[in-house]
């Protein structure tokens, strides 16, 4: 265990600079994407920078409400109102994004999936104020007494998703595929090149004199995997944090669940693919040769990526998508999205994780043999079979 820790710490130190550089770039890109998404999703901001919020009204909504809301909005923000004959028609408009919020009668607010915090606060304050004034009039209270009244009890309800989910949930599936694919490719190749570099510089010969090959491999997996996990967590925290601070009503629950599952599936996916990429890196004689071998390995996650993006964009849980989400090669890319969409039954998640764990065990053992055989043979490029045989041979008890 001590040697695993030493190897992992050396990897961390060696990768410190590229890790922080890539983390900062990733967070900046994510922040920019969230800013753009906010503008696009709310569709509130006009070209001149002014913002218009859509308020739907059903039934006996207090006639003073629009004026009350407008009085609370900051400069440059305006309100457009629409009347609907039925609650169903209003909710349909919410789902289509024609309005951001619907008020039903005097007491009920139905939130859309993406609501500006400013708009939401203004609306709630306005309804509370109108309700308080009504109660004060009924009781014959003075304005000072009105201030001391408790806030009226307003009913909050969120619109139920349509059959094929909200736009946010639809996007969640594809986003999960893209993020998981990117993370697995990036960190998988990182470990592959790290192994190829150690082999190419021959330093691995010195290390193997003192460290068993599986300790070296495990140390690398821990170090690079934890860096990937760190970046995923930072990225996820940014998304969830944004959802909370921007007061996007549905987003925190959705994003928090998705991020949590993606972290779990990243760990599983990286253990699986990281071992394969490490074995691939051990076959080549230096980093120049690594690109061709690692490039071929990329085909495996690319299949999951292409299929996953297409499947989630179609918006239905097909039998093929369910099958892909159970196969360990593609489960890390497809299962988080299915979980986020609420499509995956608990038994499917359990089965998928179990199959993944069994595959990780098998892959680490086989990749460990290949890695051991590959790194010990410093000569020309080896085939998978040659490295596997060499590794198995080296792992046997000494010949007598």
């Amino acid at each position: 265990m001590r040697t695993i820790g030493l190897v992992a710490r050396r990897e961390w130190r060696a990768a410190r600079k590229p890790f922080w550089t890539s983390t900062v770039i990733l967070l900046l890109v994510a922040a920019a994407a969230l800013a753009i998404m906010t503008v696009v999703e709310n569709n509130d901001a006009a070209d001149d920078g002014s913002v218009t919020y859509g308020l739907g009204m059903v039934g006996a909504v207090p006639y003073q409400l629009p004026a009350e809301v407008r009085s609370r909005l900051p400069e440059g923000h305006s309100l457009a109102t629409s009347r609907f004959a039925t609650v169903e028609a209003a909710e349909e408009a919410l789902q289509e994004g024609n309005v951001g919020v619907v008020v039903v009668g005097e007491d009920t607010i139905v939130w859309g999936p993406w609501v500006s915090g400013i708009f939401a606060e203004s609306l709630v304050d306005s309804m509370q104020a109108l309700k308080a004034r009504d109660q004060a009039n009924d009781l014959g209270l003075t304005p000072a007494e009105v201030e001391s009244l408790l806030d009226p009890q307003l009913e909050f309800r969120t619109v139920e998703p349509a059959e094929d989910g909200t736009e946010a949930e639809q996007a969640a599936g594809a986003i999960a595929v893209i993020v998981m694919f990117g993370a697995i490719i990036a960190y998988g190749q990182w470990i592959g090149y790290s192994v190829a570099d150690e082999k190419g510089s021959r330093v691995v010969e010195l290390i193997l004199g003192a460290v068993p090959p599986h300790h070296l491999l495990t140390g690398k997996l821990i170090a690079i995997g934890s860096m990937g996990l760190g970046q995923m967590t930072l990225l996820g925290s940014l998304v969830v944090g944004y959802g909370i601070t921007a007061n996007l009503v549905n987003m925190p629950d959705l994003a928090a669940g998705l991020v949590s599952w993606m972290v779990v599936w990243f760990l599983l996916g990286f253990a699986f693919y990281g071992s394969i990429y490490a074995a691939g890196g051990s076959l080549v004689s230096d980093t120049h040769e690594a690109s061709s071998t690692l490039g071929v390995l990329n085909i495996l996650p690319i299949i999951g990526y292409v299929f996953g993006v297409i499947a989630f964009s179609q918006g239905s849980d097909t039998a093929l998508l369910r099958t892909f989400s159970l196969i360990p090669l593609w489960a890390p890319m497809t299962m988080p999205g299915r979980i986020a969409r609420g499509w995956a039954a608990p038994w499917e998640v359990a089965l998928s994780v179990t199959l993944m764990l069994l595959s990780i065990y098998a892959v680490i053992r086989i990749a460990g043999w290949i890695y051991r055989g590959g790194v010990a043979r410093a000569s020309s490029k080896l085939s998978w079979r040659e490295a596997f045989r060499a590794g198995r041979d080296l792992g046997k008890r000494p010949a007598q």
Binding site: T3, L6, R10, R13, A14, S201, R202, V203, V204, E205, L206, I207, L208, G209, A210, V211, P212, A376, A378, D393, L394, K396, P398, A399, Q400
Partner: protein
């Protein structure tokens, strides 16, 4: 004692080792010689578990070599290998710790060896920033830093200038003097002759000659006679001898050891005013060439 016992190793159709057997004792400095492709590096790599022999065994103190033994060995591979972009001191401390030293001991040992090899002022430099000779020194420190009981060095003198070679030779002698078993391969036979009392010569994967250098030279059927005098032209007429070298007033002859030395001396005296008459066994390079050509 490190013992190679009947090692056989085949890579596909290539026979790398064919019954290679020899040993090196604590405190002994053994030269491990052979032409390119003779199997030296393959034999050395078996010590560190990088090659597993098909038949035979490498043992240390009578037991098969495992990880615990290997952590007490120092290794300098033929293809030099350290982290190019890592600071010299950091990676030497890292290697010392991998071999079981605690942090404090590893740092103290690293600093002592850096100082010994004149690299203390380059401790914070990345390896790639050092000259070739200094990189070679750092590589040797990586083999020495954990105070090994066995040093296995594959071509340690390759690419070193005379000063570098001298300082490396001094360190190896010093290690052997304190009881470390030292085995090194080299094509620089003059260096081997200066440093080692014993050599092992392998060819085509098997030991073809081994023993004390002076004994191997004496056992050779070849002899050299060097004669200095005012006229050495007579030597060209000696049937049993071949002229190897001739300069003004000096000639060097090669012959079998059964030659009539007294007769040759008499012939020289009769034809010339002889100022010097020396007979000596062949140098190690001749012994080596003879052994691998048989």
């Amino acid at each position: 004692m490190l013992r190679f016992d009947g090692l056989h190793k085949r890579f596909g159709s290539v026979v790398a080792l064919a019954g290679c057997s020899f040993s090196v004792e604590p405190g002994q400095m053994l030269g491990f010689l052979g032409p390119n492709g003779a199997g030296k590096t393959t034999a050395i790599r078996t010590v560190f578990g990088l090659v597993r022999p098909d038949v035979g065994e490498v043992s240390w103190e009578g037991r098969p070599i495992g990880l615990a033994e290997r952590r007490r060995f120092g290794y300098m591979p033929e293809e030099r290998g350290l982290y190019r972009k890592m600071q010299v001191r950091d990676q030497l401390v890292y290697f010392a710790k991998l071999h079981g030293l605690d942090r404090t001991t590893a740092e103290e040992s690293t600093d002592r060896w850096l100082d010994r090899f004149g690299l203390a002022d380059r401790a914070k430099s990345k390896l790639e920033e050092l000259s070739h000779g200094n990189q070679q020194r750092a590589q040797l420190i990586a083999a020495l830093v954990h105070d090994p009981v066995l040093l296995v060095l594959d071509e340690p003198f390759a690419g070193l200038d005379p000063l570098g070679a001298a300082s490396m030779a001094a360190v190896l002698e010093e290690r052997a003097a304190v009881g470390v078993a030292v085995i090194f391969s080299s094509h620089q036979l003059d260096v081997v002759e200066d440093l080692c009392e014993e050599v092992v010569i392998i060819n085509k994967g098997a030991v073809v000659l081994s023993g004390r250098i002076d004994g191997l030279r004496a056992d050779s059927p070849l002899r050299y006679v060097e004669v200095a005098g005012d006229d050495v032209s007579w030597a060209h007429d000696v049937a049993e001898a071949a002229v190897v070298e001739q300069r003004s007033g000096r000639i060097r002859l090669a012959m079998k050891d059964e030659v009539d030395l007294a007769g040759l001396a008499a012939l020289a005296s009769a034809n010339s005013s002889v100022s010097q008459f020396i007979m000596e066994p062949p140098p190690l390079s001749e012994v080596f060439t003879e052994a691998v050509q048989e």
